[in-house]
Symmetry: C3
């Protein structure tokens, strides 16, 4: 619990694909709606969540995830095999299909969720140590991103009710 | 700690491959054996854990994970390269091999672990928001799955001693 | 908090690629520097962190992760498509490039971080249940690795201030 008695959620976002960018944003915005405070420490590929250009172009991998549901969910035989998934254009196709499913399920976009997080005052930490590794500079990030290290995150998480690494 | 003073484990299961389905089930069943209470919030690909048809057919990816050990563990040179791993039948092959290693190590199947969790009263939440995205309806899930949102999970996790996102 | 009043970080390391081996080691060594105590429970592919031979040869996958930045970060069009990434030699190439970015960002190697963790007294648990599944024997691991089960980890994590599954 934070010093003022409010419940707190502390998250690390380390992945940068569309499917894995949603969980930290959904959890943080849900926490806000419950009157909690929340912080997201973006590191490695998770820095894409704070990246001005990349956030709007997150993608889903069509290969390497045998848990990916088939295009028509009831027909398991339609699952896209890796030898097809690796063809040019298939990453865009898989992304378009998942985005379509998300729109149908009326899920907000990652951009909309990030805006909710920003308006609600979610602390957005950009891991300074891994920015260089990902070829990202401060100017590539949204102005709300606060450059910080793992020390800042652990201090924040020490007072959290729920901490999770995503 | 929960209201009745019992220790509590709160997990999110977001992955649906064989290797990543085990950790939430092992942790929750271990917690039960220690007299804790436990809950698993299944979201995105993790919904496969509660899916009547899919649970028995979880697979391991033969590509995209350079940490996958070679078929004969002592001979690193036998590691399956991606160009071979992406061929038809290799996902089934990798799954069969890992399942074989698991049987040899006398690990229970995911189905057996889920049954232990159900009998022990683990709370099984199915994320209502992502069911649509994964093409899953309530009727596809086991009857013990309770359709819920992130709010229900965070409320549950707020009283947990250990919370983890898997 | 541990019995002696020191803050505690409890981590599960379940991945064995270069990019995913860093977070547990960075977090644990940062915790040490802050005067916390820390423990890492290595399971499944995460056992590579304690593997004498494998730790020095962790790799990055060139495929299946559309969040991988392009070789020249400012030019998104240079992103390596899966059909190229799956060619022989590309895993070594992607690893070399990420290692180069890490060296440029002056990040210590995973080996150096592990040494810091060992010297600082981080508890290193090797999951006995999954060692068999990964084809690993006690003699393959560094002497500081303590063979343990999920029970030992949950007992350790119950007294932690921050617990995370990586």
């Amino acid at each position: 619990m934070s010093e003022n008695g409010t419940k707190r959620l502390a998250l690390v976002a380390s992945k940068g694909t569309l499917d894995q960018a949603y969980p930290p944003l959904i959890l943080a915005s849900t926490a806000l709606a419950m009157g909690w405070e929340a912080g997201i420490f973006c590191t490695f590929f998770g820095l894409n969540l704070l990246h001005k250009q990349r956030l709007g172009h997150l993608q889903v991998s069509p290969i390497g995830n045998p848990a990916m549901p088939p295009p028509i969910p009831a027909i398991e035989a339609l699952k896209v095999p890796n030898i097809v998934g690796m063809l040019p254009g298939m990453t865009a196709m898989a992304t378009m299909m998942m985005q379509g499913m998300m729109d149908k399920a009326r899920m907000p976009s990652v951009k909309e969720l990030l805006d909710i997080c920003i308006e609600g005052g979610v602390e957005l930490f950009a891991c300074g140590t891994t920015m260089g590794v990902m070829g990202i500079e401060q100017k590539d990030l949204i102005p709300q991103a606060k450059c910080a290290g793992a020390t800042a995150f652990l201090s924040y998480a020490a007072d959290a009710d729920v901490s999770m690494f995503i």
